[in-house]
């Protein structure tokens, strides 16, 4: 499959997801559903790789994307915001998307997938809440929580349809994307709960920066190895490396800069 065909399939899926959750008031007052290209890529990876695929599986993939959007909406709720329409509707957007994913799976007569996704949402909610617990956590525990947040929904999809061979690659890539975003946040001093906890744990912000860049390097290496393990064809691998997880070898650069 050529790069432009991959891109085109991702865009068409994105449009279908956006259409499924469209609601006039929400479109007007909220930032709209978050449908990330990277997640769509991994949801469609078995299809791109020529694995067994069907309209039902594709419908399920869309619902996973909708659940990501639902949970993302609730991540946007601020602590210090007064009662404003945008915040109120963002809460409801998340709830509405949850109703929509449930209804879509019910219409597809796929109740087992509802159960599978509900269990994944429970784990994701537990991991998100863990950033508000007072207990001290090791870096490994923080990393475990962020892995669940980023990948659990996708993993439940892979497990349900027997696509687990892609799980290591997808985990590495989604973590890579998250760490790259966190590094950007750190550089602009826009601290997330994850960064705050990591900074406390690693004592100094510079160590956090170094930890993140090292992680990016190491994940990049792992992604290259996993691409080989999954025997992705050249075009697909190139798309992944250049469009989804472009790498800039930052740790090396940091070391050179001292």
């Amino acid at each position: 499959m050529k790069g432009h065909q991959i891109q085109s399939k991702i865009i068409s899926m994105e449009i279908e997801v956006l259409n499924a959750v469209r609601q006039r008031t929400l479109d007007q007052f909220t930032e709209g559903p978050s449908v990330k290209e990277s997640r769509l890529f991994f949801l469609l990876l078995p299809f791109f790789s020529g694995k067994t695929w069907s309209p039902d599986i594709e419908a399920s993939a869309k619902t996973v994307s909708i659940v990501y959007a639902a949970l993302h909406a609730h991540d946007q709720i601020k602590e210090d915001a007064p009662i404003i329409k945008e915040q109120q509707l963002t809460v409801l957007a998340g709830d509405l998307y949850s109703g929509i994913y449930y209804q879509m799976l019910v219409n597809a007569k796929n109740i087992s997938m509802v159960q599978q996704l509900a269990s994944a949402i429970i784990k994701v909610s537990e991991s998100k809440t863990s950033f508000f617990e007072e207990e001290f956590r090791t870096v490994e525990e923080i990393e475990k929580a962020i892995t669940v947040i980023e990948t659990e929904l996708l993993m439940s999809f892979y497990t349900f349809y027997g696509y687990t061979e892609y799980a290591p690659l997808a985990k590495q890539a989604l973590l890579y994307i998250r760490y790259a975003e966190e590094l950007k946040r750190l550089q602009s001093k826009n601290y997330s709960h994850f960064l705050r906890e990591l900074n406390t744990n690693l004592v100094h912000e510079n160590y956090t920066k170094y930890w993140l860049t090292e992680k990016l390097d190491s994940l990049h290496e792992q992604i290259l190895a996993s691409i080989a393990d999954c025997a992705l064809d050249y075009e697909l691998a190139q798309f992944l490396l250049h469009q989804i997880t472009p790498h800039q070898h930052r740790a090396e650069q940091l070391t050179r800069e001292g």
Binding site: T25, K78, V91, L92, G99, I121, T129, S130, H193
Partner: protein
Amino acid sequence: MEKMKLKLLYSDLKPELEMIEKELEQAVDSESLLLNDASLHLLQAGGKRIRPVFVLLAGKFGNYDIDVMKQVAVPLELIHMASLVHDDVIDDSEIRRGQPTVKAQWNNSVAMYTGDFILARALEHITKIESPRVHEILSKTLIEVCRGEIIQIQDKYRLDQNLRDYFRRIKRKTALLISSSCELGALVSGTDEKTAAHLRRFGYFIGMSFQIIDDILDFTSTDEELGKPAGSDFIQGNITLPILCARKDPELYAMLKANLNKGLSNEERFKVVEAIRNSSGIEEAKEMSERYLQKALRELSFLPKGQGVKTMRKIAFFIGKRKF
């Protein structure tokens, strides 16, 4: 006193409701201590458990098996709880049922994740039931409830909205989930379609009556009785039936308009509450609630006579006359 009366009405269902209560506690059990605490905090704040009660009562018209009934009763109460915890973020409410809300006790994020967690637990539970019809009804209800809340936000501070706007809103916000509780209880116990339809309509009418009374009590009860400041609906911009009925008095209309969407001091709040209390709005809203109550009772008259109908009738009367 009122809570005692309600417990007496539920006395026929006492063992089953105790079982449901335990199941609810187990359902919110989590590996996260914080989620566990927040969910239990919400659960232990109490509540009338009207939805599980109606599931169980509707089940009495079919082949009642508590192990099956609880698979519907528990998720419906969980769905209600999840919506409450998110509603408190929407309304920035500090107190519910006299207790600090989850968002006040912890923060908005914890409240959001607690709601997501509880809703997911509800879906995890209900998927033990395979009937596609059950899921069709419930998923549609979930979506309609959200749409009702979106409309409520659109309609906020709109003193010129019409009665139809209000009824459309409370139908989605409250009546549908109670109606679905009755219908799902009937469905999983295998009642015939006609009985299930009467129960669904009973739930709908009683839900409408329940919400109107709730909106009246927001003005007629004290802060202590409500467990939150009286007049909260008005402060949050929710234009409810007592206001819509009272606004035809031009003086009152001007006063409401002047105080709408304005940070009210306690004194100003009491003045608004007092003005509504003394207006015709309360009596007119009570009449409307009574009409829905009568419609609900009429639906019961089509059902086979027995303990189920008796208890439903008592609960319906209680809802119509309740003071909290």
